[in-house]
């Protein structure tokens, strides 16, 4: 399999607070990796470091053989290749649903309006939001917003999709519709890196699960190993806390 992103010795500090310590891991093409761990373990920061919303303090991020932390590397081109889905959706409030999915394609990928619209509609259909193309974000429910956010990211035809706790800000009855879409995407062979608290989703969909604790990767392996026979004591404790809650 091809490695898409490889992270070597990545660290991140906010002042004296060391949030990530010597992180090493990689994502292969077509793989679904779920990152789990308690709040404050650094999993969201790791995701934000990968697309440089946070500047890592040290280490390397290798994308297609190039270290993107190099000063001369084009950060903006690199980010176009990573689709990001936020916990708070962050749809562009001044654009309607369709145009949310088109603006990046037109302005950054230089696609024609007709082509951009076709691509946008294609992905809005995938997430089941094609009936709402003229709606403004504030007219949608949380689950609908998040599905549009997924379509917006997909419209850029990214190499990897990054999900930062995509269901954590949703009402319980809306979690299902978003997870269903994500599951569908995973089955279609999309490369996905998902920070999540949804253990059921991780267990069922992930090819590999990464457990983070206090800024380090404490354990990683197939979901079968992590959920049924964890090797580390702290993985076992975390899962006991979460699953019995």
């Amino acid at each position: 399999m091809d490695t898409i992103i490889e992270i070597q010795h990545l660290s991140k500090s906010f002042g004296a607070n060391e949030v990530l310590k010597d992180i090493n891991f990689s994502v292969q093409k077509g793989e679904v990796v779920c990152i789990i761990g308690s709040s404050g373990s650094g999993k969201s920061t790791l995701l934000r470091c990968i697309n440089l919303l946070e500047r890592p303090s040290g280490g390397q991020i290798i994308y297609k053989g190039e270290n993107i932390l190099d000063d001369k590397h084009d950060v903006y081109k690199y980010r176009q290749k990573l689709g990001m889905v936020f916990q708070q959706f962050n749809l562009f409030n001044n654009h309607n649903v369709l145009s949310n999915c088109m603006v990046g394609q037109i302005k950054l990928l230089k696609r024609s309006k007709a082509e951009a619209e076709e691509v946008a509609l294609q992905y809005l259909r995938v997430v089941g939001m094609e009936q709402f193309i003229h709606a403004k974000p504030r007219q949608l429910s949380g689950g609908q917003k998040q599905r549009v956010a997924i379509a917006r990211a997909l419209s850029m035809n990214p190499d990897v999709m990054l999900f930062d706790e995509p269901t954590s800000a949703l009402d319980p009855e809306m979690v299902g519709e978003v997870l269903k879409v994500m599951k569908q995407l995973a089955e279609s062979g999309l490369t996905m890196l998902v920070v999540t608290h949804e253990m059921g989703f991780a267990k069922e969909v992930a090819d590999r699960v990464v457990f983070m604790d206090q800024g380090v990767i404490a354990e990683e392996g197939p979901p079968e190993q992590i959920f049924n026979h964890p090797l580390q004591e702290r993985t076992r404790e975390f899962l006991k806390r979460v699953l019995n809650a």
């Binding site: 690199y78 409030n93 504030r138």
Partner: protein, 253 residues
């Protein structure tokens, strides 16, 4: 009797009042427009994230310093004094005799620009941080983020404050009579002087100023409401399901 005089002044001098009001409106409209443009450009520059190191950081610091002094200086001195300094100063220093009307527009523009720069910066900061992050995450640079995502939202947020500036400009252009611009106050002064009827002439000016500011406020309020659009999607949803749309969807599917 005052009322007779008011009627007489209006019927006799209405072209002068009208021309004065026209010049006042012209100066304040163009001044507010240019001022807002200056404000937008400065606001965008002042919100560029500071690079960690290197030449760009030094350059940005210098530019920010210059812009900050511009804002502080023009906010910190009265426009009436700026008008005198700029109008007579350019004549003395460079031997340029500015035309009075362009000079007036220039003064109002840079004065408004100083206020608008801070208003725009506030408007940009008030836009949710997630909007910046989403735009960056999709691959936009600072300018693209501003043009496509942040400024449209910031402009909506600062519309009331901009309207305020416009109204202030309509009133404050009256100080430009010190450089003999033939705006409403200057014209009124001539009318009053010609007839030795100060109360009556300025009462008429007062009404005209109020009509102008009140109309402007109403028009801006209308635009705000129009920009906001409907709160719910029920109405639009029916529009989505028009036969044309369905046809288009099925053809592409």
């Amino acid at each position: 009797m005052s009322l007779d005089w008011i009627v007489r002044i209006v019927s006799e001098y209405w072209p002068m009042f009208l021309r004065g009001a026209g010049v006042t409106l012209l100066i304040s409209i163009i001044g507010t427009l240019f001022g807002s443009l200056i404000g937008l450009v400065i606001g965008v520059i002042r919100t560029v994230p500071m690079p960690g190191r290197g030449l760009k950081r030094i350059l940005l610091k210098v530019v920010n310093g210059v812009l900050a002094s511009y804002i502080e200086f023009f906010r910190g001195t009265p426009m009436i004094v700026q008008a005198m300094v700029i109008f007579y100063g350019t004549a003395m220093a460079f031997g340029i005799h500015m035309e009075r009307l362009p000079a007036a527009i220039f003064i109002v523009s840079i004065n408004t620009g100083a206020y608008m720069a801070e208003i725009v910066r506030g408007g940009i900061i008030s836009v949710d941080k997630g909007q910046f992050e989403a735009a960056q995450a999709i691959g936009m640079n600072h300018l693209q983020t501003m043009l496509n995502v942040v400024l449209p939202q910031a402009i909506r947020n600062i519309l009331p404050a901009t309207g305020n500036e416009f109204v202030i400009n309509i009133k404050d252009t009256s100080v430009l009579n010190v450089i003999s611009v033939t705006e409403l106050y200057f014209q009124t002064k001539s009318v009053a002087g010609n007839n030795f009827r100060y109360f009556e002439a300025f009462f008429v000016a007062c009404i005209i100023y109020f009509i102008m500011t009140f109309t402007v406020t109403r028009i801006l309020r209308y635009f705000e409401r129009k920009l906001d659009g409907p709160e719910s999607y029920t109405l639009n949803q029916m529009q989505v399901a028009t036969p044309e749309d369905m046809l288009r969807l099925t053809q592409q599917g």
